[in-house]
């Protein structure tokens, strides 16, 4: 359990952590020289067959080779991937939050606020001095500036009276600012604790189920060595299963190192025999995941077909009036619904000849990065390969998002985003990912609850880290685009867990879980927000400050409101319809100057790193 306080985080020597991580990497290289020497100087040298030949000699050479293999695997899996990489990732994560503190704490102090409360839930409050200053009509200059009043000069003049009458505003403004700093501080510490606990878990899990060592030569050797060899053959499968089931404690970067260290044969065996341990795993390269997930998709559709047939047969023997029948019928409907969703998704990403399809909008291949029929269903589909793209835009849908949409409208919207990025991207390749990877609220009432975003935060964090881990060459310009509740999802993940993204784009947002862009862990100059002026969501910032408000501190861009009510008196329709209209072309009723092509352009400019064109 991380009990890191903000003061201790501020004072932490991240350089020392990084130096130790580097030392472990150097140590690994140093140790690999020993195994190399065992192979060249011993097995192929002094202990070669020309000097030593017998059954026992062969066994000894095998033993030395097995010992070297084991140590090399240990060095890779434990010393390098686990210990060194954990330290380097932790150093980066701590330093990032430390830099945030270096910016934030002076601001808190300059404004005469105080940090109070336990490290799990810091409060930023007005100091006694600041309270007194406001009460004695001597507010600090910064507060007068914020409220637009002239600082009283000590005499009971008009300015003093104005301050007296505005004292509620002064208090409110000071408390509001303190609240923003509090959000910022809590987010910083949440991410620091998250990084700390993830690092500790990665190291602790390493020791939980270590692989066996070869037995030593001796009387019991023959009895034990076969067991050891069996355990080695099952080792990779065990690791893969633990990673897929989330019990390994490994970060996507560590998973990627682990995957790289496997032999081609081991990788192929996993893809073919256990695609379920490959397809959904962040940190495994995109092409490999796509292959595994397509196999899984075929198999799940077939499996659902079998279950539907069995259920239909069972229904024939039941009394249609019975409760049993009703229950079985409902289960049958669910199975059919799941099969229909998966088949629709499959049709969308597969050509008629069964090969992977390309988007008909951009010509980029589709990559299936995950899917699930549980609840409303999930799916992660990329248009273009995020591992090789110059830009990656990940679209996180909001309320009503589901597997059904992922094979239909949501993917259509992502296709349009991909099309716009290609149209405006200057020749750079942009991969557009539909990340329907969380259980989204089904309706706007459910969307008032933050639990959906909290439930998906760790997965979104992991996905973004996976994109970084498997990227080939230079890191991409990576944007997370959240629409509606999807922006709450993005904001929650960014504030509480931390996301590896360059830009955040919050569209039609009911709030990003915090009151200030500074709390999102991404340079606030790269936080973008847009809500059209008809969208009702602007009146319902139920998850924090409206991100388009100046107080939030994000950049904003223009989005128009093309939808109208179907009749003049249906006043409620326009505000509701304009909540989802950010990619719309004109409706027949659209005022001529209010189509949302400008929003599409602006989004694409952010995604392709052309902020200078944003309007």
């Amino acid at each position: 359990m991380s009990e890191l306080t903000w003061e201790r985080l501020r004072d932490l020597d991240c350089g020392a952590i990084r130096t130790l991580g580097d030392a472990w990497k150097t140590y690994v290289d140093q140790q690999l020289a020993h195994t190399e020497r065992l192979r060249t100087d011993v097995i192929d040298g002094h202990l070669g067959t020309e000097h030593y030949e017998s059954d026992t000699a062969t066994q000894v050479r095998d033993q030395i080779a097995m010992t070297a293999d084991r140590y090399e695997d240990d060095l890779s899996d434990y010393a390098s991937t686990r210990i060194a990489t954990t330290l380097l990732e932790a150093a980066d994560a701590f330093e990032k939050e430390q830099n945030e503190l270096k910016e934030l704490v002076p601001l808190i102090e300059q404004h005469d606020f105080e940090i109070e409360g336990p490290h799990t839930e810091y409060d930023v409050n007005l100091s006694g001095g600041l309270h007194r200053a406001i009460l004695t009509l001597d507010p600090p200059q910064w507060l007068c500036d914020m409220c637009g009043v002239k600082k009283p000069d000590g005499f009971w003049d008009i300015d003093t009276l104005k301050v007296l009458f505005d004292s509620v505003d002064l208090y409110g403004t000071a408390i509001g600012l303190a609240g923003q700093y509090q959000d910022w501080l809590r987010s910083v510490m949440s991410r620091a604790h998250d990084a700390d606990e993830e690092a500790a878990a990665a190291l602790a899990e390493m020791r939980e189920n270590p692989t066996e060592l070869p037995p030593p030569l001796g009387a019991t050797y023959d009895d034990l060595v076969d067991d050891y060899k069996d355990s080695v053959s099952e080792e990779v499968a065990g690791e893969a299963q633990a990673i897929a089931e989330g019990t390994s404690g490994m970060s996507p970067e560590q998973v990627n190192e682990w995957w790289d260290h496997l032999s081609d044969a081991e990788r192929q065996a996993l893809i073919e025999e256990h695609p379920e341990w490959v397809g959904p795993v962040d940190g495994i390269p995109v092409e490999t995941r796509d292959t595994a997930n397509r196999t899984l998709l075929d198999s799940q559709i077939d499996g659902l077909g079998d279950r539907i047939a069995a259920k239909e047969q069972a229904l024939q023997g039941m009394d249609p009036e019975s409760e049993e029948y009703e229950k079985a019928k409902a289960e049958l409907d669910d199975l059919k619904h799941d099969k229909s969703d998966l088949t629709r998704l499959q049709d969308r990403i597969t050509d008629d000849d069964g090969s992977p399809a390309a988007s008909n909008q951009t010509g980029q291949d589709y990559y299936l990065l995950g899917f699930d029929t549980e609840g409303s269903g999930k799916a992660v589909v990329a248009i273009g390969n995020p591992d090789t793209a110059d830009n990656v835009n990940t679209y996180v849908p909001g309320t009503g998002g589901s597997l059904t949409g992922a094979g239909g409208g949501l993917l259509n919207r992502a296709d349009t985003m991909a099309f716009d990025a290609q149209r405006l991207g200057g020749g750079d390749e942009t991969a557009t990912v539909l990340w329907m990877g969380y259980d989204a609220p089904d309706d706007l009432i459910e969307a008032t609850d933050p639990k959906w975003a909290e439930g998906g935060a760790a997965d979104l964090e992991s996905f973004t880290k996976g994109v970084r881990a498997t990227a080939e060459g230079e890191p991409s310009n990576f944007t997370l685009t959240g629409h509606s509740y999807g922006s709450t999802m993005v904001g929650t993940a960014a504030a509480s867990e931390g996301v590896e993204a360059d830009n955040l784009m919050l569209i039609a947002s009911p709030g990003a879980s915090v009151d200030t862009a500074s709390a999102l862990g991404v340079d606030e100059n790269h936080v973008w927000a847009s809500t059209n002026d008809e969208d009702a969501i602007q009146y319902a910032p139920v998850h924090g400050e409206n991100p388009t408000h100046e107080e939030f501190g994000a950049n904003t861009f223009t989005s128009d409101s093309p939808r109208e009510g179907s009749d003049w008196w249906k006043f409620w329709e326009g505000p509701a319809e304009n909540h989802n209209s950010y990619w719309d072309q004109d409706d027949l009723n659209t005022p001529a100057n209010e189509a949302n092509d400008i929003s599409r352009d602006n989004q694409a400019y952010v995604v392709t790193g052309q902020e200078e064109r944003v309007r």
Binding site: L9, I17, T67, I83, A200, L213, P216
Partner: protein
């Protein structure tokens, strides 16, 4: 290379095998020393992290110790064990079927004066 009596296919050049043994013992010693150095550096870095009440601090310290004792230590032990086994083969110039904890100590003699009782705990059936 001298064919050995009593074996179907058995040939050994004891001097070459002894050179292998020396390399194995060198690696054993270097791995041991380097693991100790790494563990010390690790513990030193873990200290401030523990002081800062991080979860990482204690986990790092435990990981360093675990590595030194169980993984680097395990490798070191196996390398040493194989070296000792080969040393016995070279000294006795026969296949060693019943190698155990006492075998190496009994033949170490003058050739490996530092080792008869050293590392005994890593020998099988100790």
């Amino acid at each position: 290379m001298t064919p050995m009596a009593g074996a179907d296919v058995f040939a050994m050049d004891p001097d070459e095998v002894r050179k292998s043994v020396e390399i194995l013992f060198e690696i054993e010693a270097e791995v041991d020393a380097q693991a100790a150095t790494m563990a010390t550096a690790n513990a030193e870095a873990a200290g401030p992290l523990k002081d800062a009440a991080t979860a990482l601090g204690p986990a790092l310290e435990a990981a360093g110790e675990w590595w030194q004792v169980h993984r680097a230590g395990g490798f070191r032990g196996l390398v040493g064990n194989t070296g000792e086994y080969l040393a016995v083969c070279a000294e006795e110039a026969v296949e060693v079927d019943d190698y155990n904890a006492g075998t190496f100590a009994s033949v170490a003699g003058d050739r490996y004066p530092e080792r008869p009782n050293a590392n005994a705990s890593s020998r099988p059936d100790w």
